[in-house]
Amino acid sequence: MAQEHRKFICITCPQGCALDATIEGGTAVKIEGNTCKRGVDYVAGELKDPRRMVTTTVRVKGGVHPLAPVYTESPIPKPRIFDLLAEIRTIELTAPVKFGDIVIKNALGTGIDVVASRSIAAKSEGS
């Protein structure tokens, strides 16, 4: 079967290992340049189902800030990022928001929750 070489930069941690993968029939048969096994998982993921963590903001009514930062609890499929962002844009929370609050449960049917990454206190009267 024909072999193909592809280069990757692992994004799992800040080290950013440069990986050299030998691919046969859509599967990596050999990986060089990784310093830990997460590099192997990363390449497998990039080939079959590339995923990314998504971090963005959600509108908040009556909070000390007009936005609350949110993130996907685990990486979601890369092709769905902009669909998710569009859905998040339709949401408006009401303060107070608590760190870890679930903003969207099972986002886009992925089974992954979108959660608040900080608390936003309600704006007190007169401040």
């Binding site: 692992c10 950013g16 962002l85 990454s117």
Partner: protein
């Protein structure tokens, strides 16, 4: 309610300051205060909503605010004082801190140990001397990050980013998420200045072009940025004629480096390294001024917050140990107080342990002459430590009295010793 004297005062409540305050308290510092300019704790982490924080020390991949929250919660459980929305105005080499805030007014505070954790500032357009007109629409990447992530404003629609630092690349992705078009990232160096993983997940993922060895030749536009002219540069960093390109855009973001923020350090007499822009420090993170410590981006610019936290811990631990030894040293000292008919005494204080070594001589002058026999008495409250007879005393003639080594135990019990000169009354 603020105290007048602290064991440790920390200036800045970003990751370094939070870690330093927490560790100082855990090490045994009694009163710890954090002074912060913003209205909330956490520093720049609050606007760094992207993930990637905590992989080294927490073994978790957290967004900036979530990373900060962990330390904010820990701090809250430790009875550490905070002064928010406050400006530290001055710091002296004697560890005297002046600050002001809407809530406290102007306050003067003393501290046994001081931690400088003011972080850094972004390099601005003026500091890199970008030619061209001066329209609206030129921002540092961090300013744009605050607008987009905290305040809810988009600073533009079409962007060019100068500099391939992490904040610039992260903002390229963030602006793309919010519907803007990022036309180009330009980098004057022949290599990426941020992390490679950010090149992959922020630029490559969204097809944002990066051009190395390129810079902005001039900014075009009167009221608002209309375009920038980019140019390729050669090995000597000189523009290569003929490589110019006009890139239409309405906003230029600058991600061209960070400078440690050491205005206060200078006021305290802290010497700065011209290479890092931060204080010279020893292995304890202590500066050249005894009792003044520094940690985080104020010392040198880090790329991972985890290492900033570690520097904060180290610094906080050593600041607390310094404060505790200061307190002990101070506790060993007894103050000399001028009692009846004594104008002053030298020395003003005495180390209690000094009597283990030798006799200690006190010298003083009386206020009024007494032309008859007197006792010169050293007292601990009502308890007499020692006394000496004189036939008379006169202000023009200095009086001496020795505290003998046999008074060692009596002196250990005292926090203050007074000396009085009284008539002998037939004695």
């Amino acid at each position: 309610m603020l105290k007048e004297k602290y064991d440790v005062i920390v200036i800045g409540a970003g990751p370094a300051g939070l870690a330093a305050a927490i560790e100082a308290k855990k090490t045994g510092a009694q009163d710890v205060l954090v002074i912060e300019r913003a209205q909330e704790l956490g520093g720049i982490l609050q606007q760094c909503i992207h993930n990637g924080f905590g992989l080294q020390i927490l073994k978790r991949d957290l967004p900036g605010p979530a990373y900060a929250q962990r330390f904010i919660d820990e701090l809250a459980g430790l009875h550490i004082d905070t002064l928010l929305d406050a400006m530290a105005l001055n710091v002296t080499s004697g560890r005297h801190v002046s600050a002001t805030s809407r809530w406290s007014g102007f306050v003067d505070l003393d501290t046994r140990a001081l931690v400088l954790a003011m972080g850094c500032r972004e390099r601005t357009r003026a500091q890199i001397a970008l030619p061209g007109t001066r329209p609206a629409g030129v921002f540092t990447a961090g300013t744009a990050q605050r607008f987009v992530n905290i305040e809810g404003y988009m600073p533009g629609k079409r962007f060019v980013i100068l500099g391939s630092g992490d904040i610039g690349m992260i903002m390229a992705r963030r602006l793309t998420f919010e519907g803007a078009k990022v036309e180009r990232v330009l980098e004057i160096m022949p290599f990426l200045t941020g992390l490679t993983r950010n090149y992959v997940q922020c630029l490559m993922d969204y097809d944002i072009p990066l051009q190395l060895r390129h810079t902005v030749k001039r900014i075009i536009g009167n009221d608002r940025v209309e375009a920038i002219e980019s140019v390729q540069i050669d090995e000597q960093r000189q523009p290569i004629p003929g490589t110019e390109e006009i890139i239409p855009c309405d906003t230029l973001l600058l991600s061209v480096g960070l400078i440690p923020e050491n205005e206060l350090s200078r006021k305290a007499g802290v010497s700065l390294d011209p290479v890092t822009g931060g204080p010279f420090v020893d292995e304890k993170m202590q500066t050249n001024v005894p009792g003044i410590f520094a940690a985080g981006n104020v010392v040198h610019v880090y790329d991972l917050v985890d290492w900033v936290t570690q520097a904060g811990w180290l610094c906080g631990r050593n600041a607390a140990e310094y404060a505790i030894s200061e307190r002990k040293r101070h506790g060993r000292r007894v103050k000399m107080k001028a009692g009846d008919n004594v104008r002053y005494i030298v020395p003003h204080t005495l180390d209690k342990e000094s009597l283990a070594e030798s006799v200690q001589r006190l010298q003083m002058r009386v206020t009024l002459p007494i032309e008859e026999p007197v006792w010169v008495e050293v007292m601990n409250g009502e308890e007499r430590v020692t006394r000496k007879a004189e036939l008379y005393v006169r202000p023009g003639e200095m009086v001496n009295i020795d505290i003998p080594q046999s008074a060692y135990d009596a002196v250990q019990r005292a926090s203050e010793l007074s000396v009085r000169v009284i008539k002998r009354q037939g004695g």
